[in-house]
């Protein structure tokens, strides 16, 4: 279908080439008008066809249909028009053959020959008559100078009447009229001058004739030179009026012959003119038909175009489009149906939009609640696990990961019982117990060993979620790390023990010791076995002193004073340690920059460092090197104590900072507990960095004092 305009353009161009006016043709401007119109039409069709071929996008609604209608209508007219054109051309050709039939040609030739023969005969007769007067003695004598006017005139009258001429005149060599006679009256006083033919006749001495057309018809004029003895001496000019009826017929024949020949001569041009006239009419009809078709198609396709445009707008989401109902025909019904459809669509779209808005609001609220819940869970220090009815974890927050050091496979949808293996077995057991018990709630405390060998004491609380409240049913597990709380409770208990011991035991120890010393002084001389006596009393005194030191440590732990924070040089503390332990060659103290400062209580820090150094010295053999050095970061100052001794076993390491735990036989087990307490009072920490090779402790304190109330 897209090639139809191009095909029509090709046909039109072909016809244009066929009817292109030739250079010698006499078709006039009509041919060029036709050619121009056809060229314009073919160019328009060509352009439209090319545009159709190149067109990629959707055309304007209705335009394609309109073009098809116009092309169809013009094409419908084009075929019969071309047939008529061909038939007319053939008819003209046939007509030409009939008009210019050879019989007509011959007839006209014969008629003309007849007319020409009449003229020839007339001229011949006149010439024959004139030949008789060339040497006429009267006439020659008259022009020779011996003219007797009356006799000459009478002679001229005689020969005029004899020959049937209307006029006879006599001229001498000087073209002067000597005499003349004529029928009727003179029309002019002056004689008519001699023509070229007359002069030629006189000069050549030959009889000549010519035809003249006057006011009262055609006249045959004859010239006869009058020859004297030796030469031409004058000229006789005679006129004979041709018979009007014959002349009229002869001229009619000549005129018809001329017209016929002219027509024949223009035969080709006539045929071309006829063709171009018909072509012009055909083109005019086609143009008119195209114009009417265009108007009709526009009227017909305008509602369809509007409808297509409106549908396009509806497709793009514009449901407010309303078409005008202009007609009551099928198109009008279509428009009404369309308007009803858009109205219903508008109504439904409004309802959907309202529902969507409600859903969006609900979703926003849900998201807000979810956001709040997630924020809450994320910021909670309490671990939360939500388990569905099938035992799969639905939700877990970061706190539970941090508390239990959960492996990476603990993600939502993991099966809790399968994931609770190894050190997390207690979590699975707790869930299992909660799941199978009758009560709605369950609370348990248990220890979980972490991958870094630490034990974390957790408080687990579980609740069964009621399925009737929502579609979800499952279990909520809340896990708190209460290690510090337990330790604090333990420390508090120990402090209470220490306080009571100090109160109950410390007071009798002094009299016991004094009594033992008194016994030793006063009764040593009375006993017979001094060695046993001394050993017993010394044992009493030594154990009492040991008890006193133990009580003092307990007392210290119980009544740990608040640190008196001030700005202290880190290097000063290192130097004091160097001075204090200078007797031990295996101790290496590395000094640091003098500018390093720390906000701390120097007495308490010194006590911690002494404790750490003392532990290192006592826990390692001679020859084992011990190192003390400091390091500095943006926020922290660290004192490191390392020794290359045998190290600390895993079991001891986990309880090292507990009060009253000691690996030494004479130790109170309070040294590291007090050191850790001091570090925590400074908002720092005491760490066992490595248990062996080297055994490494680190005291980390903040460089700057914490803000009051922070």
């Amino acid at each position: 279908m897209r090639l139809v305009p191009l095909f029509m353009a090709a046909v039109l161009i072909f016809v244009t080439v066929l009817v292109w006016p030739s250079a010698d043709g006499d078709v006039g401007i009509l041919g060029w008008i036709n050619v121009t119109v056809m060229l314009v039409l073919s160019l328009l069709l060509l352009r439209y066809g090319m545009r159709l071929l190149r067109e990629r996008t959707e055309p304007k609604p209705g335009s394609r249909l309109r073009a098809k209608l116009v092309v169809g209508l013009v094409g419908l007219l084009l075929v019969p028009a071309m047939v008529i054109q061909l038939a007319a051309s053939q008819m003209v050709e046939r007509g030409m053959d009939v008009w210019f039939d050879v019989r007509v040609d011959t007839l006209l030739d014969r008629a003309l020959n007849l007319a020409q023969g009449f003229y020839e005969r007339l001229e011949k007769d006149m010439k024959r008559s004139l030949l008789g007067y060339i040497s006429d003695g009267v006439l020659v004598a008259a022009v020779g100078g011996n003219m007797e006017y009356l006799a000459t005139t009478a002679y001229l009258t005689e020969i005029r009447e004899r020959e049937g001429w209307q006029k006879a005149e006599l001229f001498d060599l000087n073209e002067r009229q000597l005499g003349g006679v004529q029928v009727g009256e003179l029309s002019a006083l002056e004689p008519e001058p001699l023509s070229d033919a007359a002069r030629l006749s006189m000069r050549l001495g030959r009889v000549a004739t010519e035809l003249k057309t006057g006011a009262d018809g055609e006249v045959a004029v004859g010239y006869a030179p009058l020859i004297g003895t030796t030469s031409v001496v004058g000229l006789l000019r005679v006129e004979m009026k041709l018979p009007a009826g014959v002349i009229q017929n002869a001229r009619s024949v000549e005129s018809d012959y001329r017209n016929y020949r002219q027509l024949e001569h223009n035969r080709q041009a006539i045929a071309q003119t006829f063709t171009h006239v018909i072509l012009f009419v055909t083109l005019a009809v086609l143009l008119l038909a195209g114009l009417i078709g265009l108007l009709f198609a526009r009227r017909l396709t305008a509602p369809i175009g509007d409808l297509a445009h409106a549908l396009h707008r509806v497709t793009e989401g514009d449901l407010d489009v309303v078409l005008d109902e202009m007609s009551q025909d099928e198109l009008g019904s279509l428009v009404r149906s369309f308007n009803e459809m858009t109205s219903r669509l508008r109504h439904h779209a409004g309802a959907i939009e309202q529902g969507q808005q409600d859903l969006t609001k609900a979703l926003d609220k849900s998201r807000q609640r979810q956001f709040v819940l997630e924020s809450l869970l994320a910021n909670l220090h309490t671990g939360v696990l939500l388990v569905d009815g099938s035992g799969r974890v639905r939700l877990l927050n970061q706190a539970v990961r941090d508390i239990l050091h959960l492996p990476v496979n603990w993600v939502p949808s993991v099966d809790l019982l399968q994931a609770s293996q190894g050190n997390l077995q207690d979590i699975g057991d707790f869930y299992n117990e909660l799941k199978h018990q009758q009560e709605e709630h369950l609370q348990r405390e248990f220890d979980i060993s972490l991958p870094d060998s630490r034990l974390v004491h957790v408080l687990a609380r579980g609740a069964r979620l009621n399925a009737s409240a929502s579609d979800f049913s499952g279990y909520l597990l809340v896990i708190d790390d209460i290690s510090e709380l337990a330790e604090a409770q333990r420390n508090k208990a120990w402090a209470e023990v220490a306080r009571r011991l100090a109160h109950e035991i410390k007071n009798p120890l002094t009299p016991i010791k004094l009594s033992a010393e008194r016994l030793q002084r006063r009764f040593r001389a009375q006993v017979d076995n001094h060695q046993v006596f001394d050993a017993c009393t010394q044992a009493i005194i030594a154990q009492v002193e040991r008890l006193q030191r133990l009580i003092a440590d307990f007392s210290t732990l119980a009544r740990m004073p608040q640190p008196k924070i001030r700005d202290v040089s880190v290097n000063v503390l290192l130097r004091e340690m160097k001075d204090l332990f200078h007797g031990y060659r295996r101790i290496e103290v590395r000094f640091c920059d003098e500018q390093w400062r720390c906000a701390c209580d120097p007495d308490q820090v010194r006590q911690v460092l002494i404790n750490l150094m003392d532990n290192a010295v006592s826990a390692s053999d001679d020859g084992v090197s011990i190192r003390l050095y400091a390091s500095l970061s943006d926020a922290w100052v660290e004192w490191h104590v390392e020794d290359d001794g045998d190290g600390i076993d895993e079991a001891a390491a986990s309880r090292l900072f507990e009060a009253y735990y000691s690996t030494k036989a004479s130790g109170s087990g309070l040294g590291l507990a007090i050191a850790k307490r001091i570090a925590e009072d400074h908002h720092g920490e005491l760490l066992l960095v490595s248990t062996a090779a080297p055994t490494h402790f680190c005291l980390r304190l903040p460089r700057y004092a914490a803000e009051e109330g922070a």
Partner: protein
């Protein structure tokens, strides 16, 4: 509607190009000769039609009136602009045949002189040849400048019917040109 406007503009441009192309095609059938001759006072031309002479002879023999219109133009040749027209002369010559007397009446419309001849060749020569026709005074031309004489000949068979466009468009059957320079 833009495409229609641009289409019409394009079509008009094409038609103008076609007309420019067609005019020389019509005039290409010249087969004539032109000679320019200048004596001490007058610039003359001798022009003769070629192939059209046969058609004229046939028409005259059949008793059809024939006429030739000679448009003689002299222009100064300019290299970068249109030539500067100096002279524009029109000569019309007619021949009216008389089949009964086998004679032909020669009429020069420019001078009004007429003559009857009894020889067809004389009549044909009268229509198809301008011999030493004085065109313009020599003093109007500059001896240093190049000039071009153009002779366009329209041949009419039958009576001359002047159309309304004949003053705009001359369907010349022969165009002859000759560049010349005064010695």
């Amino acid at each position: 509607m833009y495409w229609m406007r641009s289409g019409w503009v394009g079509t008009l441009l094409l038609m103008a190009g076609l007309l420019l192309f067609v005019r020389p095609a019509v005039a290409a059938d010249e087969a004539g000769s032109l000679q320019v001759r200048a004596d001490e006072q007058v610039v003359q031309c001798t022009a003769e039609l070629g192939t059209q002479s046969k058609a004229i002879a046939m028409a005259l023999k059949d008793g059809i009136d024939a006429a030739t219109t000679w448009h003689i133009q002299v222009a100064r040749v300019r290299e970068y602009w249109l030539n500067d027209g100096i002279a524009d002369i029109t000569v019309i010559r007619r021949v009216e045949p008389d089949l009964l007397s086998r004679s032909w009446q020669l009429v020069d419309d420019a001078s009004g002189i007429s003559q009857r001849v009894y020889n067809l060749d004389d009549a044909v020569r009268f229509l198809s040849r301008l011999e030493l026709f004085p065109v313009l005074d020599r003093s109007l031309l500059d001896s240093t400048m190049p000039y071009r004489m153009t002779v366009k000949v329209e041949v009419h068979h039958g009576e001359i019917k002047a159309a309304w466009w004949s003053s705009i468009w001359h369907p010349a059957q022969a165009i002859m040109q000759q560049d010349f320079k005064l010695q």
